[in-house]
Symmetry: C2
Subunit: 321 residues, 2 copies
């Protein structure tokens, strides 16, 4: 390869291993890469990371809950931004692994950075990752974890905004849908707590409504709706709101006359319903900002962990509330 590129073997090695200690001109780099390509050479990421001491891999455990369109868009942008900064994003399948146990598994791949999209990682897990060479550990959970940079996603605030809106609309007996689907309680619990916080100091009440994402379950809930005596419901998100709206309408219950209905996520489908669905619009952090935070910390791993409040909540008032 050195002969084909017209450079020394040491230069080939420096270029292919991306050594930053040695300064090599851009044209030379290009010549080496072209020669490598022509010869069908595939560098070994593992070997390269062993030599360099770290990789360019950003590991991101796959979220443990089914992802919605909001998260997909955020993740696409994050991935794109990291690839422009020359990182490779791998999503680690986390089935059956939890908390610090999961961290040990991630550490085996020797990522240079780890972004954890939900809660569960503790200070021990952060330490394991750092000992294994991760320079940046960023969590996206409800609270800060010792040793890690934190994007704090405050789902209580989603519930608080929902509760405050329904109170504003003159409602006093609020139902809150809590999905029965495995894993969603990391979001639904704080949302419920947020609604409770909103009504504190008022005469309003909050009733928890467990619900499976199935037509029959919604019909059963609608059938006993009038006995619950509710005048409003925060339905967790737009998809559950759609499910419940249909069941209430089939039962002859007027939305919003008899019961106000509020979703969350601001999906297109909410505007297709009649009445049009009111919703809590969520703003996830910009993928580009997060990519830049990761890159900054990789370059200076001694930086003091930062905590950023993200996830803006804003109610979009349409016709259902």
């Amino acid at each position: 390869m050195a002969r084909l590129a017209g450079v020394s073997r040491a230069t080939v090695s420096y270029v292919l291993n991306n050594t930053s200690a040695v300064r090599i001109s851009e044209p030379t780099r290009r010549r080496v890469h072209e020669a490598a390509k022509e010869l069908g050479y595939v560098p070994h990421a593992a070997a390269r990371s062993l030599r360099a001491g770290h990789s360019r891999m950003v590991l991101m455990p796959a979220p443990r809950v089914p992802v919605g369109p909001l998260y997909s868009r955020f993740f696409d942008e994050l991935q794109w931004s990291l690839s422009r900064l020359d990182y490779t994003v791998v999503q680690y399948g986390g089935v059956g692994l939890h908390g610090d146990e999961a961290a040990r598994a991630w550490a085996e791949l020797r990522p240079v950075a780890v972004i954890v999209p939900d809660e569960g990682l503790g200070p021990k897990g952060v330490a394991v990752l750092k000992r294994s060479g991760a320079r940046a550990v960023v969590t996206m959970g409800p609270e800060h974890v010792e040793g890690a940079h934190a994007l704090v996603m405050d789902h209580q605030e989603v519930g608080r905004a929902a509760g405050a809106h329904l109170l504003d609309r003159g409602r006093r007996r609020l139902g809150v849908v809590v999905p029965e689907a495995r894993g969603l309680d990391v979001f639904s619990r704080p949302r419920l707590a947020g609604v409770r916080r909103a009504v504190r100091g008022t005469d309003a009440t909050v009733t928890e409504l467990p619900l499976a994402y199935e037509e029959e379950a919604a019909a059963r809930l609608a059938a006993r709706w009038r006995s619950l005596g509710l005048d409003a419901v925060f339905a967790y998100n737009d998809e559950y709101a759609m499910l419940l709206m249909r069941a209430l309408q089939d039962e002859g219950i007027d939305v919003p006359g008899e019961t106000a209905l509020l979703g969350a996520d601001d999906l297109v489908l909410g505007r297709l319903l009649r009445p049009r669905l009111s919703t809590v619009h969520l703003r996830l952090p910009a993928g580009r900002d997060l990519a830049e935070l990761v890159d900054r910390v990789v370059r200076d791993p001694t930086a003091v962990p930062e905590t950023h409040e993200v996830l803006g909540s804003r109610v979009v008032h349409r016709e259902s509330s």
Copy 2:
């Protein structure tokens, strides 16, 4: 660690590197693992794969299109099944990489198996992966790729089933929605071709209807609907069908009286619409079957590549068609 476990250093190394050449009893293995855990030892997957010659990593590039609930369920089951067979699944972020170029990037991680969930990988890419140590390469695309095992996903058949159903219902002027969203044409083109195949030899016509997933775009299409003279439409999937149904109803067009409407995917939301949505139910391969195929090929990489037809299509007739 050897002292803590009460075994020789060689035994520790054999156990931690999972060497199969040496027979070591289960209690001894357990003692070594416990000692490793107590000492906070994290094995280095890279080093381990260098020594062993291959890893337990199954690499799966992330699909290039937003995934729906169907794919999520399939992927969860696949991941679960592979983890039970002691594989680690990593999803590789494929932004900006295409075809054989992508294969080179995947090869850097030295996965023992690669599952490609969409098309784009060619025979060259398969060869690069195999040269880099991948024992199993499985593609899930419209056709077989040389050197790889193939789960053939025939989206033409989805369109053919849709077209045949609408003909059965006495319709003759069929519209087919083709989403404008980036990336979806790998599914929408063959589905359109399938509808065309269904009408071959009849007096029915097929009209292509490009559509963005936006309320305004659907309203524009509905406004010129009567000038198109269609009596049926296959709306690509249930979400586009919902979007179009609302726009047609707002325009005073009766579904199914004036226009029959058919979705695909059989999502819950289809049953929540009025009229209830007819749909093409798709059956993805079982994650467990795919996991077992991967494991079988990893154990015997010389096995002749298999081709399996997957993706069953079956029309569920409700009220909209």
